[in-house]
Amino acid sequence: MTCIAGHLTMNAAHFALERAAWQPILFGTPNRAAIAGCIASWECRPVRVRVHRNHAFEPVSSICAAYAAWNRIDFDWRIGSYDDTLSFGLEERGEIELIWFDSERLQKVADGKLGEWLLERLRNLRSFTTNPIVALVWPLPLAERERITESALPATYVPDLQPLADQLAERWLDRRAMSISGTRLSNRACMEIARELACCWLPAAAIPPIKAVAVDLDGTLYSGVLSEDGPSGIEVGDGHIALHRRLGELRASGILLALVTRNERPDVEELFARRVDFPLRLDDFSVIEASWGDKSPALDRVALKLGISAEAIVFIDDNPGELSEVAASSGAVTVHAGVDGAETARALVHVSGIFRWRRSAEDELRDRDLRVSEQRSGLVRTAVSTDEYLRGLQVRLAYFIGGREHVARIAELASKTNQFNLSLRRLNEADIARRLVERPANVVAIRLEDRLSDSGIVGAVVGSRQGNTLRIEEVCISCRALGRRLEDNMLTHALRLFAGEQPPSRIAFDVSKGPRNEPARRWLAQYLNIELDEDAESVEMNFDVVRAKTISSAIQVEVAP
């Protein structure tokens, strides 16, 4: 087996150890000679990137390889010829478009018109492809950059390189390089850009996001052993504080935190109560797993409680043996807590899937939603009927037809590795925006709320009307909304809205079998009352099957225009 695509492997343990060994090289002061020595001995997920450029990209791409491999990615660069006009050679296939552009080489664009010209070029590229576009353009004045970002071109991202330029100051450019390498960016600038590009900007355009960080205590959030040194004997250095703060920032941005520690729960509670100098508080952790058992089962329990796959969790521990065991057993992404906590924090934010181009409203709702999930489970167990349960919870569903404001959230749902993606089509923002242009009703978003919490947009149905057939290309429901006996009600209403006032005679669902989407497949089989073939790519039925379903009167339904 291999260590890609969600399969656990014999070399996952080896990968975790190598990953730990690479960390000081990749996240300390960058050194091209040392980074060049980081050569992956494990299999990585290939991602093909078409590069449209007007200056040398090779000093960046050669460094990207190590950072990408650390994230189990192998970028297959398709680098075009030098082109100041950005005419876009699109002969080769690609998954991501990268624009690598030194705007000072532009001769024919008037001052103050750079943003306008770039926007026109980006629109041109967008008309040919729905691939995510990442544009690295420097120099790019703030006002010009804002002009592009305000245009809200779907799945188009323009990172701001100026903070890196400011940080490196006189080390940002190296005129010596211009004559032979064709770029005026310095070695250090190329390495800093490579790190952000390979770990953050490109993965955020194409890789499912990380949803939680599980962190060890002893030797990770402080120096010392709690059970031996006690709360007052453990030491918190500046590096540990940096790691605490970084974890706090991630939590504020919607990534859930969990504690996985070999300690007694009362000792952990006493530690956080007495150490008021800890920036992190016990309440910041959505799940606390304090036990003397192996860490991989503890991490599995964290995943279960959070309703996510272990592969969407980053696990931080100072013990390479623990990292190795967890990587081999659960598939979680591992980060080694080294002696320097600040370096650990730097490594953490460069795990692919941590950086995201934007946060959704749902990111802020997730923690509260999960904290009340046990209350909901209790109600499910004790309710006499589904209707009584739904009425007791005061469930409200809101449907949004063709709403542009939900495109990013729907793309997020489609890209996640959750259990309820029927076709695993991984539609991005540009794919969804294109369907909206074709017919607004092609995209339906579903918002869920009950008396315990607001779950936000938790579901989406995307498809198209093809003659007398309603083709459903993707159905996604967030894991947080599963287990609430809502799937049939939620989706029946969405499908009827999708059909509109002239219902079709047929309905076809695109399906695909992935490593974790069995719940979605099981739902479809039960909903249509069929046996779903393993290899089936589509299932077609008479639309009467949807018409015949009843929707519970216990649910309040609202349809937004």
Binding site: R32, A34, A36, A56, P59, I180, S181
Partner: protein
């Protein structure tokens, strides 16, 4: 040449092989013109890697002379001795 210089040349050969992605084992000696991978873009990467490894900074006027492990060792020796 002294054993120290030979050792430096060996280190440089290994570094060049890594940057240029030469199949192992790297040749005992080689010059830029005989290695197709060693084009102008790679030459800049080689220079950057050498500067990072040895903590030196080459002048642009030296670039053209850095064409083999032996030539690089000689240039480095001058920098490190200065």
């Amino acid at each position: 040449m002294t054993s120290g210089a030979e050792s430096l040349e060996g280190e440089i050969r290994d570094l060049l092989a890594m940057i240029l992605k030469l199949p192992p084992p790297p040749p005992a000696d080689f010059v830029r013109g005989s290695v197709p991978q060693w084009d102008s873009l790679k030459h800049m990467e080689v220079i950057f890697a050498l500067e990072d490894r040895y903590g030196v900074r080459f002048d642009e006027s030296e670039f053209a002379a850095l064409i083999s492990p032996m030539a690089i060792a000689k240039a480095l020796h001058n920098h490190l001795a200065a």
